[in-house]
């Protein structure tokens, strides 16, 4: 498959390239970046120095490909993607521009009126665990945000089974510094970021809408930055309307995800990694799910960990690419992860 990557000089773009250059069925034909136009890929992504001789081209030089991955900043894709679709190819968009089905949410969460609401209805969320069948024929795939993917996978089985009591579900997320990208300014400086527990969005974060859309629950999301480069942990505090045991939760999650190649249930009785831990997921496409019942508070704590650049972005995109291209779903995504790291 001939593929192109738009906005390829950022962290997500680099991760897409790392995966696609090593993918047995992908041929990267173009990578665009206005800021790095003319430079070798290895200059932006030093881990890829020997892996490719490709150079960045300006966005304006983009030519049609069978599949185009869009890793542009939010707001750019919504104007540029329609033209890509007219060329007949598939678009896998990693920005937020086609994630929300309800156009009315764009003014509320992104302060913009969406120029192509008709495409919002068509776009399929890049969540194979929920939309595998629709992804097989999708023309436009919208990969959810990293925190949203984690929370959705943790919450969906509880929501589907009707175990959630009235009242908001609290999602308290922790994420690493790569989520801020390369233009994070002073907020991203090591001297400012090391050792933080930064409540950068205690309320009102944009991923709220995505989680609510996919789960049907009311969500109270608070986002924190902590010292890690990759990784998201979503701690979901779920009020439940019945007594729920560990056994119940094992059964629930096994039924939901037992056959999923990239969802693992992690809930052991001992060990440092007895619950999901993003640290050991760096470079992998896993979303690890764990849980604890808290009868004292009538709550289930559902935990989801992933690598924000992988299952939270580029890895999910390649997984969708595999599904859409009728390839083995794990192609190019077999890395087991490092320990220690």
């Amino acid at each position: 498959m001939k593929v192109a990557v738009v906005g390829a000089s950022g962290y997500v773009g680099g991760e897409l390239l790392r995966l696609l250059l090593a993918h047995p069925n992908a041929e990267v034909v173009q990578v665009t970046s206005n800021s790095m136009a003319g430079k070798a890929v290895g200059r932006a992504h030093p881990n890829l120095r020997r892996a490719t001789a490709l150079r960045f081209v300006p966005h304006a030089d983009l030519k049609p490909a069978e599949v185009t991955f869009v890793a542009s900043p939010h707001g750019e894709s919504m104007t540029e993607t329609p033209a890509l679709l007219e060329n007949g190819g598939v678009v896998i968009d990693l920005s937020a521009d086609f994630r929300l089905r309800d156009p009315a949410l764009y003014p509320e969460y992104y302060h913009v009126t969406h120029p192509h609401p008709e495409l919002l209805a068509e776009a399929v969320p890049g969540l194979p665990e929920l939309y595998r069948d629709r992804l097989r024929t999708a023309r436009l795939i919208a990969v959810p945000g990293c925190v949203a993917t984690a929370a959705i996978l943790a919450l969906k089985p509880l929501a589907v089974h009707g175990w959630v009591a009235p009242g908001p579900v609290v999602v308290d997320s922790k994420s690493g510094s790569s989520a801020s990208g390369r233009d994070s300014g002073s907020a991203g400086l090591h001297a400012e970021r090391s050792g933080v527990m930064r409540a950068y969005a205690p309320a009102g974060h944009r991923h709220t809408a995505e989680i609510e859309q996919e789960t049907g629950l009311t969500v109270a999301l608070s986002c924190h930055g902590v010292e890690a480069v990759r990784g998201v942990l979503a701690t979901c505090h779920v009020p439940v309307n019945r007594s729920v045991s560990d056994k119940d939760l094992w059964k629930l999650y096994r039924e939901a995800y037992g056959k999923e190649p990239f969802v693992r249930i992690v809930h052991e009785t001992e060990g440092l990694y007895r619950e999901p831990e993003p640290k050991i997921l760096s470079g992998t496409n896993y979303c690890d799910l764990g849980f604890a019942s808290d009868p004292h508070a009538g709550r289930v704590v559902a935990l989801a960990a992933l690598d924000n650049l992988m299952k939270g972005a580029a890895g999910a995109a390649v997984q969708c690419f595999n599904v859409r291209s009728a390839l083995p779903e794990t192609s190019g995504l077999e890395f087991l992860g490092l320990h220690p790291i």
Copy 2:
């Protein structure tokens, strides 16, 4: 004042010594440690090399002092403290052994029957913001846990004013590695701890009981370890029974803590440190409080940050010592903190 420190070779003991050796009204007469007996204080606490010529003595050699700070592991103080009190001195206990007023909670949370329930009624919590008057004459002071102090200070005004709706308050805490102490085993290894977002106690953590005792609320506490050495951030997700604005919250917290020397309200409109951040509190005795209203979810997010070894342990103990000794409350606790750090 002649003071002694029991269990002085650990991290909390070291922080006590750092404060007391520089305190204008304290004279450290004895420091005990069985494991380090005979060694110079500087061997355990390299920052104190030049500050003192004291050496550790075995616990058995402890002599009465005017004030004895107890930084022993949980379970030791409950048997040893009664003898200290009989000698007529004041005991400031930093362990969990006298924190809970209800003896029935010790079997539940600590798997032990408390041998001196009569002292539980007498012990005064080491929270000057709530118990200043009683602390002035207390014989036994029980400094709360670091997560508990943070959550209590954040939640108490909301609870007192009756703004909290039914249903549990979710407290999602993040803490640094020094909270595990020097004997944390492989869980504390740098290679295992760096970059983690470890949900080490998703439910059932012991500090739950302390927070409930002081606030009267039902608490759903989840504890995480993140990569930092010092610091606790308690993100408290509080269901509210009315519409609450930022202005309301400013007023609430100002009335509660406007005159407190070590509680600061931090809630700015911009900047990296617009909400409480433990990173810049290292070495200080501040508890910074912030908040966000989340009308979408009918919630207030109350944030509390502190240094777990300072306001979460040794600093609070010295603040109590100052209150108990009728000294200026900020004596020896004036350090402003470092930035960057």
Copy 3:
């Protein structure tokens, strides 16, 4: 090829398993660990949970395999390896026990008399770049220490060409926390290790002997621990006996390593990664070499970066396994590395 791993519960053992379980030509038949005997591999190495159903067996239960990797602590291999060799298999030893050809160096550097000096003469260093031919038929392969491998690869071409002036070569190494292993005690605690620049061996480090053995130079080695999990950077300060330009150095290193699959020359004019940087080598088998000429001081600075668990241990061992087994040298070692990480 049927392979076994002795001492498989440590960090090096875990990395060997990660590589061997995914290796197209290796079948792991046994893994030994006395401390973890009976437990699943995933308990020690959480990244391998789904990759294998193997359980650790006691060392005493070890059976002959075609190739046995020994990742025991220094001192154990020298007594156990002879028996392994008698069984007819190949031994790839990752400890220090067969690294030094001169038996007289063991008392000096390891405080032990070597029980099998005859095997020291036979053992082939696990450096394919220097010993590829001998490795093809070796019975006993001794993988060098991580700092030694880095320094040897950086220094060897300069030594071979006779450019080094009299006087010692200074090797100033920096290494990450995984080099200390899982039993590093309080030295390895996150609270003690974060942010350090620890001169743990300013002089006299054991790797001195290995570097001198392979280069013929007099070496002044100083070892530092810094905050990273993986990675070694060896900064080699080499007095030179002639004027040496960047062009000379490019030529020197290209001739020496231009065809090597795992040695890259990194020396660019701009960019954050213009010189070798271990950070982006995590999980890869590369040794990146760079350099700077310093005519002011009559010196060449040669830089070598690698992942201490990979090219500095397990990766080098698998590379040797490939050479010894007449497999493609890069089998199982193709990982490109992550950025950012």
Copy 4:
């Protein structure tokens, strides 16, 4: 003493303010910053929120003060300082603009012709250990670079005693991220900086000239960035012309610095902090010196650790201020440092 701080919004400026606002004999009357003009000091330096009501003024509004601290970027001070001196006050310059006595070195190391060579002869290095008498009456004080201060203090006694053999002294430095300041761009991003061992200047670094000026030795300096916020460790590899024992080195350094308030000799036989370690110096004005003799290589390894914002910049400036103002030299600099941190 009425003091002003020029360029007060950077990290060095913030550290100066932290010290001066708490200094018993200093009154900060003006702080300048063009980029932050009009904003409160606490906006740039969140640790100082409660400590002052000062706001930044533009540089152009600066008025004469008794002592003016200049924390401008290199190149600005050399044009602006002459006017400050004409007003009759004392200038303590923390930039590089008056550090080198030989005007010919400015084109070589800074690519600029110095506009006021006459002031280079007058400027006194901000090293009380070497220039205390001249500092008492100095009009212009030039605080050395952080790496230079560390290396000079470590090397000077060896140089003075004539123990150094011919050939360059290798200084291999490691430093934390705050040394790059707030405008470090992508090089300073957490995602790029965490866990690095970055050889950012393997040869030719500007501090070479300062170290050579003060020691008379030929210096081969290589500079590395590692993961820490504050801190410099200079590992000085010194060829010696005689046999040197630990006892000799103790004597040498004790004689040189035994009475110095901010130089400590750290060289113990055991413990994690047996040699100088910048980690535990954060916030302190100490320069810790250690050493190891390496008879194998005819070398002494001299180690110097300091906090780059303190003894490497602002702390040294305040120490000079104390000397110049006939105050106790430790005024405002008594902080003992934190452990763990």
